[in-house]
Symmetry: C2
Subunit: 304 residues, 2 copies
């Protein structure tokens, strides 16, 4: 595994010169927070001429049409793929392992297929030997909210954010170039790494945040029964740390499952840090506690 093989592909440097495909037909499979928001962004940037939406939930299909996220609902997956220039697979990670191979089964050399999934190693292993593997580009937009479904779609979600492109060398040059052009036009910063590095780093900067937030919510719910009272006291700090605890288990359990080894490793380190802070407080070693908090303050350098 490359520990952190970030590098900018030479292609990245001429995305402003490379003409992105205008007026594409785009098929989005899974029209939730990410799929729906991407639909809005592609339309706003003038990149999508017609958007076909596929979702196993008829209710989500209806909402996606009503909200103007998609132009046309479709239930035939293969037909929806074959009519598209760009296919976006934006389903939860458990469904992703089944749906992405089906999409590649239907794809020809005319389509470019992307996923937008939060874990990569298991998914890329699943399609590693697929004959159409080179039509697929694995990407992960580092953007989202704690909400889900078509109603959670928001414009401008991706602007200025990072897009991780995984194992780019496994994609055909024209497929990679199209993806780079599209997301460059959405004002995303592209970062390249292999799937193993991606899964390790997202465990640290995304997955663990969700677990701590779920655990914090459970802690408070366990001890505090008079909810209305807490509601009155909760200030911005509390809301900030438990915001992610509103996130859907349907989305997050498959992520934790597919990134289980990394998540357990980070979780062990996090529990260790909490136990050390607890030890310092129990021992009334306030000087060492002060030092630990000063050390934690260094996180400032890493945030925008």
């Amino acid at each position: 595994m490359t520990v952190f093989s970030t590098h900018y592909s030479p292609l990245h440097h001429f995305t402003t010169h490379y003409s992105p495909p205008h007026r594409m037909v785009v098929t989005i499979i899974g029209i939730g927070l990410i799929g729906g928001s991407l639909a809005l962004s592609l339309k706003e940037a003038g990149l999508a001429h017609h958007i076909i939406g596929v979702d196993r939930s008829p209710e989500h299909q209806r909402q996606a049409v009503a909200l103007g996220l998609i132009d046309e609902p479709e239930t035939d997956l293969a037909a929806a793929v074959r009519r598209a220039d760009l296919v976006v697979v934006a389903v939860p990670m458990d469904a992703m392992l089944t749906v992405l191979p089906q999409v590649l089964d239907a794809a020809t050399d005319r389509q470019v297929v992307i996923d937008v999934g939060s874990t990569k190693a298991a998914l890329l292993a699943r399609v590693d030997q697929h004959p159409q593997r080179d039509r697929f580009v694995a990407v992960h937009p580092m953007a989202g909210t704690e909400y889900s479904g078509p109603l959670a779609a928001v414009p401008g979600l991706f602007r200025g954010k990072t897009l991780v492109v995984c194992d780019a060398a496994r994609s055909a040059n024209d497929a990679l170039a199209r993806v780079e052009a599209v997301f460059g036009r959405l004002a995303m910063q592209l970062v390249y790494m292999d799937a193993a590095a991606h899964d390790l780093h997202t465990a640290y900067i995304s997955h663990i945040s969700h677990i701590t937030s779920f655990a914090l919510a459970l802690t408070v719910l366990e001890k505090e029964k008079e909810e209305q009272q807490i509601f009155a006291l909760a200030s911005g700090g509390f809301e900030s740390t438990v915001r992610l605890a509103k996130s859907s288990p349907d989305m997050w359990v498959p992520i934790f499952r597919q990134n289980r080894v990394n998540v357990l490793d980070v979780l062990d380190e996090h529990i260790h840090q909490l136990q050390y802070l607890r030890h310092l407080l129990a021992q009334e070693d306030y000087s060492a506690l002060h030092q630990q908090i000063q050390q934690a303050n260094l996180i400032k350098k890493m945030l925008k």
Copy 2:
């Protein structure tokens, strides 16, 4: 201890009729995030005619004048207290234990004195027998940011937020009425409870959030050395959960120290919850993990 003795004082109901003291002289001791923001709010509401600022840091004094937070810097604490209608003590909780008695030593029956501290039991015990105890009203505005010092002061910080008033029966009626009128005019919602209940509940909805955030920052800093890379990947979720880790140890170590028993209790529960989630993931019990996350989702009801 009253477990949660929230009630609205009868006085609260006629704060709109009670005429708040206009054009008060206000002395603020400690002109940081809270003291400075309160200065801005009191001026904006037309409640403060003249603001005297006391801060042990000459640099903070200068900044407070330059930023227009105070009208007059003062170094003589007793003189600053005696000239005021309202005295606000907004220093870190360790200094608070020394400064508040000094302020009450200087206070006459003409002054109303408030603290804005994050812990109450130790402080109220400290001044319990003070002859001027009834000039003091213990309040805690549930508002703040992760920044500190005069430069962190922001207008409108308190609007719509909750003000906890502790052990209100220990304050003189006129002192309590003045405090209720002032914070009512700042559009705060007043909640009443005893000091023990306050310290228990703030451990849950404020102090533990800071500890988890510090621990999360330490976790990431421990494992991730290539900071620039993390910076690129960090999305809104991560920033949200580690935001509080920027908070100053000078402010937070004294809070943890004074609320040590409650914080240890909550921390034990939080570590237990994390260990249980870890156990479910390690055992691959995804059904139970799903249930736990659904349970955590109930936190939605408690947030605005």
